[in-house]
Amino acid sequence: MVKGQVLTGGRGKAGAIKVVSSQAEAESAAEKILGMSVKGFIVEKALVTERLDIKAEYYAAITVDRRAKAAILIISAAGGMDIEQIAEEKPEKIRRFVMPADNDEALRKWLAESFEDRGLLDQAFQIAQNIYRLFREKDCSLVEINPLAVTAQRRLIAADAKIVFDDSGVPQHPELAELRNADEYTADEIEAREAGLSFVSLSGEIGCMVNGAGLAMATMDCIKLAGGRAANFLDVGGSSNPQKVLDAMRILLRNEQLKVILVNIFGGITRCDDVAQGILWAREQLGITLPIVIRLIGTNGKKGRDMLGKAGLIATRRMGDAIDQAVACSGGGSL
């Protein structure tokens, strides 16, 4: 088989998976598959693999269960479809086991209820241990094998797999950063990550720069309630640094749909004078022509507002006022 490699589902339907029986056929299939587009993802690699005679399909995964505060092994005999679909259609087929097992025997016994045949059980036990080791060693958030196929020869094969790594683990595993797929993110999101900012592109006109994820989300929510639309989520982060504010401003300004910039800062670990300094640098260096609405209070708040005031920029103290003003500047809302 020749299988196009893209980070999305639905490859078979799109024609990116072909069954071949000779080298010549494989070559011509690969030529067709390479460069084709699946749901907007261009196929750049293809995998040539043995064709499996699949008799049954399981789902197997390890992930972190937030409720149990533990890694859990999930097995379902209803493999092949995605886990949300299994959860919806056959919830009774999903089984969960808290890892690590107290002992090998406990894990084997649990697996035996899904894999009755001794040969399959041995293989499933080996696979469960291997994926758990991978999960731990590389700080994953998800290792998923779907389908975990049973072949006519009674072999268990990982016919497809998906691995999600914990972003917080990447600094300790630099090799993982290389695997990041650029297509999944907008250019702004990639640049923001390199600058140490948390950024998500949205579709509105109000460019947001906020400190703290909760406040940044609440700012988006309140913009919508006031009749406006946020252009992005941007958390300038916990640590205090004027350079980050400058970088954030540069990224915001790349968006041509922007009509206004809303800065909403409630200083804690972030100091308002650092933020004010960053805004002043940005104004000097980036030639900003858009209106900037600033809300600045908290740690060193007065110092920050005074710095802005001296430069002719007005900073308000109330979030609601700043949001109403920004929405009005963007042409939305009731003001």
Partner: protein
């Protein structure tokens, strides 16, 4: 009264010689917190302002009698710093650090439970009992003593809410930031239980956000075991699914973690859920 910390709590700062650690050590001291020492390996014998620095937590505890530690140590070393505090007789550890891998927290969570040590955070702003003690990075001056208990997964959004409460003369008994990570040391339920028991807490504000099911768990606990008034706000109602919104724990994935389910569960438990943070004081 208050929960977790009060005017008697003796606090040390781990990572006290770093930029954030030293700034906030002095800010806590200024607020009135009994900051009795700091720890940075290799820098014992120095001082930060008037605060003595020790090489180890063991040493700091022996010399100062501290029972609470606040951790500003970088993510790669923070789990070991928390472990060191737990092994040195500290009973309450508050971890401000962001970016600890989830699996390190899974291990740590169970270790600390076994040792009977309470952890607040990581990736949190800390705890404040206004007028008595501040262990964290929140701006102290926006708080005032009173009867509202505040629990939140966020930092700055908590300040926002507290600012509005204080402006309306609604003081706070204790405000706790539990942290924005998928696995945190102490969750809503344990704190709801403490606030329910605290005689000086009259009402509770719960600030949640998308991701996970902690708010749903809180809702079921409130339904059966909390009799005080609870007002809630859930952040991220306009967040797109599949995207991590800043906090490691704030992501709508595989059909769970959405805001609407949380709002519905809380309302079902009798909690007043508001649309905007500035509506919270109206409901108290």
């Amino acid at each position: 009264m208050s929960i977790l910390i009060d005017e008697h709590t003796r606090v040390i700062v781990q990572g006290i010689t770093g930029r954030d650690g030293s700034f906030h050590a002095e800010a806590m001291l200024e607020y009135g917190t009994k900051v009795v020492g700091g720890v940075t390996p290799g820098k014992g014998g120095r001082t930060v302002g008037a605060i003595p620095v020790f090489d180890t937590v063991d040493d700091a505890v022996a010399k100062t009698g501290a029972e609470c530690s606040v951790v500003f140590v970088p993510a790669a070393f923070a789990p070991d710093a928390i472990r060191e505090a737990a092994d040195s007789g500290i009973s309450l550890v508050v971890c401000i650090t962001e970016g600890i891998p989830v699996l390190r927290m899974v291990d740590l969570y169970h270790e600390l439970k076994d040792k009977g040590v309470r952890l607040i955070g990581p990736n949190c702003p800390g705890i404040i009992s206004p007028g008595k003690c501040k262990v964290g990075i929140m701006p102290g001056e926006i708080h005032r003593p009173g009867g509202v208990g505040v629990i939140s997964r966020s930092g700055t959004l908590t300040y926002e809410v507290v600012y509005d409460l204080t402006e309306r003369s609604l003081g706070q008994s204790t405000c706790v930031g539990i942290g924005g990570d998928p696995i945190v040391g102490t969750g809503y339920v344990e704190l709801l239980e403490l606030f329910e028991k605290d005689e000086k807490t009259d009402a509770i504000v719960l600030i949640g956000e998308i991701g996970g099911e902690a708010e749903e768990e809180a809702a079921s606990f409130i339904k059966t075991s909390v009799h005080k008034k609870v007002v809630a706000f859930i952040s991220g109602r306009t967040a797109p699914p599949g995207k991590r919104m800043g906090h490691a724990g704030a992501i709508i994935s595989a059909g769970t973690g959405g805001a609407e389910a949380k709002v519905a569960a809380l309302r079902d438990a009798g909690v007043v859920v508001v649309d905007r943070p500035d509506q919270i004081p109206d409901e108290l």
